[in-house]
């Protein structure tokens, strides 16, 4: 009995090579499959559709409309963000510092009136996200959205446009955005949706 209990004092060696191989293979796969997304200011729950068209990844200006109707903009290509801001600044006769340009080109998206944008750009990432968003004005008296669109199209020809809105965004908010686009002869654009797989319900 005593002998049996003391049978193996040595730690058993397990050949873990295949397991490690598998684990690292999977790690590599997920590492490559992941696209890191910066936290966004707007929390959007997309509607579903059966559309088969994938969202373009480049040359895209996304106009996000959240459930309150606040408007955010984000330009996919980094290299055009700086000229975009400069064009906008020249329309509004504003001085833009180098630091602000730098911060703006790093930005994934923003949703503030132009006058608030400058002080906001000086904040760090955390403070920016915590800052209360007021959205980009798009009303008839002060339509900054229109100027942002014009500026974007003039610095980046061939730019495509997408509207990304929440399921419960009231149509009147979208109507403002669509009217602003069509008024600028942007007649062809995309509505961003989530792929419907059949079990989401309508």
């Amino acid at each position: 009995m005593a002998r049996k209990r003391g049978l193996s004092k040595k730690t058993p060696h397990l050949d873990m090579n295949p397991m490690v191989d598998m684990a690292f293979l999977l790690v590599t796969f997920f590492l490559l499959a992941t696209t890191f997304k910066l936290p966004e200011q707007a929390d959007i729950e997309l509607p579903y559709s059966y559309s088969e068209v994938d969202i373009p990844e480049t040359n895209l200006l996304t106009i996000t409309v959240d459930r309150q109707g606040l408007i955010f903009l984000s330009l996919s290509n980094h290299e055009f963000r700086r000229p975009w801001l400069n064009r906008m600044a020249s329309i509004y006769d504003m001085e833009i510092t180098r630091e602000a340009e730098e911060a703006f080109s790093e930005l994934s998206g923003f949703g503030l009136p132009l006058e608030e944008l400058k002080p906001w750009l000086r904040l760090d990432r955390k403070e920016q996200l915590a800052h209360e968003s007021r959205g980009i004005p798009a009303d008839t008296l002060n339509n900054e959205l229109s100027d942002w669109l014009i500026a974007a199209r003039s610095v980046q020809p061939g730019l495509r446009f997408a509207i990304k809105a929440d399921q419960v965004t009231p149509y009147r908010k979208l109507d403002r955005v669509i009217k602003t686009m069509t008024a600028n002869r942007i007649l062809r654009f995309n509505l961003v949706t989530e792929k419907r797989t059949g079990d989401e319900g309508i």
Partner: protein, 186 residues
């Protein structure tokens, strides 16, 4: 490698030959527990953070807006080949052919009612035209559902237009009792 050999020789003048001969033939076991832990930690992290589904898009083409000086050039859609879909707040949905109040029907979004209606309309009309007139308080999901349904049907021409006073009058005449109908349209 060469440098290392030279160093070895210097340090151990008995000779490298002997050393090589005494190398253990047993396979060396490395303790891989730490590595496995790390690998699985990373694996778990990436598995949880990855979202596999990429959003897709519905392509939409809007008509050129009609301004005052071009208004005469615009041809109105013939009443007989128009189908109007009006999404209302609270997931109400109204649909009518032409402009007659007696054609107004209330539908729901599920069970393929809209699909059947579209097919029926397509079969009965040549050059059909579908017009979506969303109520300002209706939500975006309703609009996308309708467009998605149209895209899956054989309808090739559709447009989004404003919900106007005339449309409100048609629905009111049809005896629709909806709280959203009582509010005046801007």
């Amino acid at each position: 490698m060469k440098e290392f050999d030279e160093f070895e020789e210097f340090d151990n003048p008995i000779g490298e030959g002997r050393r090589k001969r005494t190398v253990s033939r047993e396979s060396v076991f490395t303790d891989m527990n730490a590595m496995v832990d790390l690998a699985f930690l990373l694996l778990t992290f990436f598995m949880l953070t990855t979202t596999m589904t990429k959003p897709n898009v519905i392509e939409l083409v809007m008509p050129v807006p009609t301004d005052e000086d071009r208004a005469e050039d615009v041809q109105p859609v013939k009443e007989s080949r128009a189908l109007t879909i009006v999404p209302f707040p609270n997931d109400e949905l109204y649909i009518f052919r032409g402009l007659a109040a007696e054609n107004v029907r209330e539908l729901t979004y599920d069970s393929g009612e809209l699909k059947a209606e579209l097919e029926d309309f397509m079969a009965a009309t040549d050059e059909p035209m579908v017009i979506i007139k969303p109520h300002p308080d209706s939500n975006y999901r309703n609009l996308v559902d309708i467009i998605d349904e149209i895209n899956q049907s054989a309808v090739r021409r559709y447009a989004i237009d404003d919900f106007r006073e005339t449309d409100r009058a048609i629905l009111a005449e049809a005896g629709i009792e909806s709280s959203a109908l009582k509010k005046d349209v801007e």
